[in-house]
């Protein structure tokens, strides 16, 4: 398969600088756009490519951009493009790779995307712990300004764009785009009510697009090589390639660029090398910590947004977390719920109070104090907190996804904890 996003990337090797990036076709998409494509031409190519957001929601990128008021429909003032590089989903480790090893690819994607929506200021909102990525992106930005790829009159086109690296002060909820915008404005990162959507009223009340790192990294290739080429990369329903990751107790955990629609079994067995010796696959979260469990019955499904959706989960970030048969599913869900309870912004009651309550019930079960009626409580919480519309944003419903599917697939494990009065997997890892 042709490598697109990772063609310059080999972990352990030197990350690409300007010279290396350009030597391998870098900034060709930018040159092409600046020397004869209008923003509308570029947007049309991206829309036709069927690129869908790689941050987790899978929303079509071209459609997201189409809500930004253009030219005569927009009052004078700034427009913003923000790269969501706040990778904090438990089990997600793909954007780090793209930023650390090929920072110019992201920057080129951002310049082109900003051009598409007519933005004149752009931010890379990156988690503060990504020290190496921050350093390399800053260096790459300097190289871009020096070459005239950023700043006034980019490549003589008359187009102007400023770009800043903005390290976050750290909070999972900043990954939610309106929370991210509040964080950029120096506020607590509580998500905003929608509408108005950020495309119309985002950063400082101006039109703003927030896109994920991997989404933006696709743009230079789509502009350079066209929509049809991009669509031909997928082997299933969806277009392009995707970074798929596997973590947990497999032989070869890692992250690989593969065609969209690659079957789960191929990722797990051929790339991750299967389970470590002596362990069996019990289940997996296909797209990070806020997606529903799937089981070995789902191994032949294609990693496509709609296919995984129909199976009752979400493709999310495409980074899978593997549950083996010797790790406690209750303990795993408890770990996730602890995370979400800690990272709740505290704005709405079902999330602020409901998640700690859920955590307490799970702790009781894991530590052998559970009662049969606790399972009803968990079901109630899944139905109430998990329903979109009962909470201010998607954090708490996301938190409920692994729990509701664990109750479905691993109910026996919950019951054994309660009837036995202890964790049957007890291996020092529990509680």
């Amino acid at each position: 398969m042709e490598k697109v996003l990772t063609r310059n990337i080999e972990p352990g090797k030197t990350p690409t600088d300007m010279a290396a990036y350009e030597a391998n076709g870098g900034y060709q998409g930018l040159r092409k756009a600046m020397s004869g494509m209008s923003p509308q031409d570029c947007r049309e190519v991206v829309s036709a490519s069927n690129l869908r957001g790689r941050g987790g929601a899978g929303f079509p990128t071209g459609m997201k951009w189409s809500f930004v008021p253009m030219d005569d429909k927009c009052t004078p003032g700034h427009k913003y493009l923000v790269c969501n590089a706040d990778e904090m989903e438990p089990g997600a480790f793909k954007d780090r790779l793209l930023m650390e090893y090929d920072p110019h690819q992201l920057i080129e994607g951002m310049i082109l995307s900003a051009y598409c929506i007519g933005a004149d200021i752009s931010y890379i909102f990156i988690r503060g712990e990504y020290i190496v990525a921050i350093e390399r992106l800053r260096k790459a930005l300097e190289e871009c300004y020096a070459k005239g790829y950023l700043g006034e009159n980019i490549l003589g086109s008359g187009y102007k764009l400023e770009m800043y690296v903005h390290p976050s002060a750290g909070r999972y909820i900043c990954g939610e785009e309106t929370a991210l915008i509040n964080a950029l404005e120096g506020k607590r990162a509580n998500p905003r009510a929608k509408p108005p959507f950020p495309q119309v009223s985002g950063l400082w009340g101006r039109p703003t697009i927030v896109n994920n790192v991997e989404t933006l990294c696709n743009i230079p290739h789509i502009i350079d090589r066209g929509a049809e080429w991009f669509k031909s990369l997928g082997v299933g329903e969806d277009a392009g390639t995707k970074l798929f990751g596997v973590s947990g107790r497999v032989k070869n955990p890692g992250c690989w660029e593969l065609p969209m629609g690659t079957p789960i079994r191929e990722i797990l067995e051929n790339h991750a090398g299967g389970m470590q010796d002596g362990l069996q696959l019990k289940g997996f979260l296909p797209g990070g910590g806020s997606t529903d469990f799937l089981t070995k019955d789902h191994l032949d499904l294609a990693m496509d947004y709609n296919v995984i959706g129909k199976a009752g989960s979400r493709m999310g970030t495409g980074t899978m977390i593997i549950l083996d048969d010797q790790t406690c599913p209750v303990g795993m869900v408890l770990n996730l719920i602890r995370f979400f309870a800690h990272e709740s912004c505290g704005f709405c009651t079902p999330c602020r109070d409901g998640l700690p309550w859920t955590r307490q019930v799970l702790e009781d079960i894991e530590q052998g104090r559970g009662k049969v009626e606790d399972l009803d409580t968990l079901e109630y919480q899944v139905n109430y907190i998990g329903a979109i519309g009962n909470t201010h944003c998607a954090l708490a419903p996301g938190a409920m996804e692994p729990l509701q599917s664990a109750l479905k697939y691993f109910r026996e494990d919950f019951e054994r904890h309660i009837s036995g009065g202890c964790c049957p997997y007890h291996s020092g890892k529990g509680a």
């Binding site: 988690r127 990504y130 976050s168 120096g186 990162a189 973590s247 995370f339 990272e343 890892k429």
Partner: protein
């Protein structure tokens, strides 16, 4: 003295000229002052390790916001420290992939070696131990950060290697 000058003199007895210059630099591309709240907190913390009450009040004045509002911002974020920390902060990942890979027992070894639990600083003031959400290096789990450095594939031996000096040093 005018009110503005009084505020200015209050502030400049706490914040350094360099710190104020750095905050001003951030303000150049921010439409209103309070918008630089997080940047200002980070600037102060970068030089001093943490944000004291005194500094928080000075920043609030400098940015024309109430200290209560700024405190609400400061305490929201995991990486703004409102209590003193050691020379290096250890951010220990306790999220799901690291947990599956046995981070709880590594954490126990780390705590035993350094003599601290989450939220505590070693007696020699070298390390503060904090939990952190998923560090995005799940293929190399368990992981942690020690200062600016990511340390991967953690196990008891690695902890012993890294911190044996602390263990045998002047800690009691």
């Amino acid at each position: 003295m005018s009110n503005a000058k009084m505020i200015q003199s209050d502030v400049s007895s706490v914040l350094t000229l360099k710190e104020m210059a750095e905050i001003d630099h951030e303000l150049e591309h921010i439409p209103y002052k309070a918008g630089a709240a997080i940047d200002a907190l980070k600037i102060i913390q970068a030089g001093r390790g943490w944000v004291s009450d005194e500094c928080l009040q000075a920043i609030a004045k400098y940015l024309g916001m109430s200290s209560e509002e700024l405190e609400g911002v400061a305490t929201f974020y995991n990486l703004i420290y409102r209590r003193p920390v050691g020379e290096k902060v250890i951010l220990f990942c306790d999220s799901v992939s690291c947990w599956i890979s046995g981070c709880d027992s590594v954490k126990q070894t780390l705590s035993d070696t350094l003599g601290v639990d989450y939220g505590e600083t070693t007696k020699d003031n070298r390390y503060t131990l904090l939990p952190v959400p998923c560090l995005g290096a799940c293929d190399r789990a368990p992981v942690m950060m020690v200062g600016d450095d990511l340390v991967t594939h953690l196990d008891d031996n690695k902890i012993n290697e890294l911190f044996s000096a602390s263990k045998t040093g002047d800690q009691s």
